[in-house]
Amino acid sequence: MSYIAKPKVTHPKIPRNNLGLTVRDYEGAVSTLCAGCGHDSITAALIQAVFELGIEPHRLAKMSGIGCSSKTPAYFVSQSHGFNSVHGRMPSVTTGANAANHDLTYIGVSGDGDSLSIGMGQFAHVIRRNLNMCYIIENNGVYGLTKGQYSASADVGTKAKKGPANKQMPIDPVSTAIGLGATYIARGFSGDKQQLVPLIKGALTHKGFALLDIISPCVTFNDHEGSTKSYSHTRRFYHHVIDTDFVPPAAEIKAAYDEGEAMPVELHDGSKIVFRKLDRHYDPTSRAAAFTYLRDSVQRGEIITGLLYIDHESGDMHNLSGSVDKPLASIPYQELNPGKEMLAKVMSRYR
């Protein structure tokens, strides 16, 4: 069960981050998911990303809904608060949490059922608010906990273990997010940690709504021949459009890039995202271009991955609402109460 703690044995030379913590300090309880589940690889990438960013564990908030994916916050960073909410409603809870305290780092972990079926409304509206959070969809095309029904992200023609192939159109979270105005949109694959870690780091640093759609095969219900969300299918058709490097604030861009291939974008805290484009003509700052490219890739049967779109200038929910800089939850009561005299003045309006 998820409360089983992992044994803590660390090598004395294990790397430490800016806080002096090791990657072990960012681990959580032992996973209770099936052996080989893509979600566990994503958990590992998450741990690596928050470790490398040097986020204080208790300043991180882990939010989720219901489903296999939503269990995973128990499996990373035990010293962070977690909020395992109700099915499909993690976005609203995170909105409230962020409204009260915008100083924490929010990771929301969801799945294709949680985000694209029961929670489609909340998924859409949290994007509209440009809530400052990293929103991960662990996308496997099936309902795991209820034993393998198609989800809304199942592709047309994909086959379940039993029964007929899926005939309904899938909802693609990436193109949906482009349409709804998300400001950081990426797709990854649980089997490619090297690509995932910088994508997560960028998503955590980006000030605004960052979506990471991560193909994460379900080994028990959707990893067979004929499935379009299996490990083998994903490996065969996935295509890096853009490799992304994350460069922390004050660090220099050291890697050498060919002319026209690299494109650095500076984030609000001075860190940089460097796009390494495998297609020279791709412009990740153009919403229209990203949408068109994505549509074309579907025609080609490709699963394109990488950071597909970024807009680092739009304000988040608090900017849009005009909130004070201090987290609302930490404003002393004295500053919130207008007092006796003011009430008397207000009363004069109602005489």
Binding site: M1, S2, Y3, E56, H58, R59, A61, P73, A74, S78, S80, H81, G82, F83, N84, S85, V86, R89, P91, S92, V93, T95, G96, A97, N98, A99, A100, N101, D103, L104, G121, Q122, A124, H125, R129, M317, H318, S321, G322, S323, V324, D325, L328, A329, S330, I331, Y333, E335, L336, N337, P338, G339, K340, M342, L343, A344, V346, M347, Y350, R351
Partner: protein, 600 residues
């Protein structure tokens, strides 16, 4: 027959023609003469074009509820003329716009019909269609003022205040009032046998609606996050919160907001936002009505089990389903008390007036934080949207919010290990921590089965331990919630138990019954779970009349469930047609029940 300061004026108009300001003006003028008033707005679920009524009860005795009488009908809406005429109490008057002739059939014996050519006069005097329509409504204020001897100077003063920034409108409105006033003085015997005479009974009082008072209460309670989905009749609560925040919650120098309002995509999201915010230490609330409570069900159960504070205002309207959105009822007691699946129960507060909405709001935040559970404030359309005369709201500067058992960084530092759901103090309320405060404070908030340590569990004993402890907390809640308001008449074996907006009607009925030598004791419950005094009161009586505004006797059912009272002792007196209850109903029903008792 002549009466002073005891008259009911009802005005029938068309929605969207500016009659609201005319009616408000009339009511406020009487209030400023020192005479208590009750105002009720009977409006359609519509923006423009449907019939709407406003009723002003002038009550020198200071009663709080509407009357079942209409003395003066201002029938401005030809569409409802016949209905309006039928509603006038015998011996009363009807004023209509005589610009267009009316059939003789549309008169009634015992009702004096007074025609005033309002449209013609306004068309001759004012330019532009809009002004003519609006001024026609202001002009009837002048007619009523002349007939009842309402002080014109007070009306002028009110106009000057209202249009302080649009001076030209003062003149226009004054002219319109003059047209009506002069016409009435010249053509009718003024005043009528019923008049309004100055008194000194409104000093220290205000006229305010419950939603405004509740919104103001949220500001004073220190709420910083408000989430909502607009729904009649609760919308004006968030409007009020927003308006007061704009005034009082701006950061000096930057003008930035010390509040955050989230207009959510639906009520499910609204309550989700509230829970996220309280989890993170803010005071947060959501105003809604019955349909919103239905949608919030799952999250309310979550908050009960995961033990998160939340404040929900349910401004009740007539159900079931969409029901009648602009009509009042007290029909959500059961839905709120047990909102959500599983063994779930919630703390409810029942304000009876706008004044109590203000104080209940503050109390609700304190209770929610103390008990770490949702607290629902059950107002209704009558309290929430109608203008009530009530004592000025007072603020006690010594008030300190009760934020409940929240561990600080220092406290956590000194602890070996923190466990979320331990009953350390024996009151059933565990200690909680806020994210971001201290690494030792972290825990996993979940709606799934958990042990007292906060860990996931499917173990029977561990599960039971937590849900049983929640019952201990429930008994603590019973001691913390406000007790009932009890009035003993004299030794009597019969009593009334009632709730919320029935209070005015019950109090007035008690006076009327006393005049017939029937003295009843009265207990108004203010919260659920019911405190010990409620049980004591009921147990002292052989028979209890439970007065409430719903079909299914929901308060009575709650009393049975929570206090295990014998149903045979509680007779339901139910008013549920969507209009606010009035004293006549209570008197008649009590008399009928007493007669039954004697016959038996």
């Amino acid at each position: 027959m002549s009466r002073v300061n005891d008259v009911v004026i009802k005005i029938g108009t068309v929605n969207g023609t500016g009659s609201a300001s005319a009616n408000g003006l009339l009511m406020k003028a009487i209030f400023r003469m020192g005479v208590p008033v009750v105002g009720k707005n009977y409006f359609p679920s519509n923006i423009q074009g449907l019939p709407t009524w406003y009723e002003i009860r002038v009550t020198g005795d200071g009663y709080q509820s509407r009357s079942d009488r209409v003395d003066i009908m201002v029938a401005m809406n030809a569409q409802t003329y016949a209905k309006d005429l039928a509603e006038v109490t015998s011996g009363g008057w009807l004023i209509y716009d005589s610009t267009w002739p009316r059939s003789n059939l549309l008169t009634r014996e015992g009702v004096t019909v007074l025609g005033v050519p309002l449209s013609r006069m306004c068309n001759e005097h004012f330019e532009g269609a809009r002004a003519r329509i609006l001024m026609k409504n202001i002009a009837y204020v002048g007619v009523v003022a002349a007939l009842l001897e309402i002080d014109l100077e007070i009306i002028t003063g009110l106009l000057e205040e209202t249009f302080a920034k649009k001076k030209h409108l003062v003149k226009q409105n004054q002219d319109a009032i003059r047209l009506g006033y002069d016409y009435a003085r010249e053509n009718f015997t003024c005043p009528l046998p019923v008049t309004v005479k100055p008194m000194d009974k409104t000093r220290g009082h205000i006229i305010i609606d419950g939603n405004t008072a509740a919104g103001l209460g949220c500001v004073y309670a220190g709420a910083t996050v408000g989430a909502w989905y607009p729904i009649t009749p609760s919308t004006s609560l968030m409007d009020a919160y927003k308006a007061f925040c704009k005034q009082f919650r701006r950061e000096e120098g930057t003008d930035k907001k010390k509040f955050c309002i989230v207009q959510a995509e639906d009520e499910l999201a609204a309550i989700g936002v509230v829970l996220g915010a309280t989890w993170n230490g803010a005071r947060a609330f959501t105003p809604t009505s019955g349909p919103g409570i239905s949608l919030m069900g799952e999250f309310l159960g979550y908050a009960y089990y995961a033990e998160l504070p939340a404040v929900i205002f349910d401004v009740q309207r007539a159900g079931p389903s969409t029901g009648m959105p602009t009509r009042t009822q007290q029909c959500d007691f059961m839905a709120c008390a047990f909102a959500s699946h599983g063994d779930t129960r919630h703390v409810l507060l029942f304000p009876a007036s706008p004044e109590e909405c203000f104080y209940s709001a503050i109390e609700a935040f304190d209770l929610a934080d103390r008990l770490q559970t949702p607290v629902m404030v059950l107002s209704d359309l009558d309290i929430g949207m109608n203008d009530w005369m009530c004592p000025e709201l007072q603020w006690d500067e010594s008030y300190v919010p009760d934020r409940g058992k929240v561990l600080s960084a220092e406290e956590l530092e000194s602890m070996t290990k923190f466990h979320r759901y331990l009953d350390v103090d024996g009151d059933g309320i565990p200690y909680r921590t806020l994210p971001g405060v201290h690494p030792k404070g972290s825990y996993f908030t979940r709606g799934s089965g958990h042990s007292k340590y906060g860990a996931y569990t499917e173990d029977s004993a561990e599960y039971k331990e937590v849900v049983d402890r929640l019952l201990v907390k429930w008994e603590t809640a019973r001691k913390l919630v406000p007790g009932p308001a009890i009035k003993y008449s004299k030794f009597n074996r019969v009593g009334i138990v009632s709730v919320g907006s029935c209070d005015g009607a019950v109090n007035e009925a008690l006076v009327r019954l006393k005049e017939k030598n029937i003295g009843l004791n009265y207990c108004r419950v203010k919260a659920f779970p019911f405190s010990a005094e409620v049980r004591d009161f009921i147990e002292k009586h052989d028979q209890i009349y439970v007065v409430e505004q719903n079909r299914d006797a929901q308060l009575r059912a709650l009393l049975m469930l929570d206090l295990e009272i014998d149903p045979a002792r509680m007779v339901p007196l139910l008013h549920y047609d969507g209009m606010p209850i009035h004293a006549g109903f209570v008197v008649n029903r009590v008399l009928a029940e007493l007669a039954k008792g004697q016959a038996a």
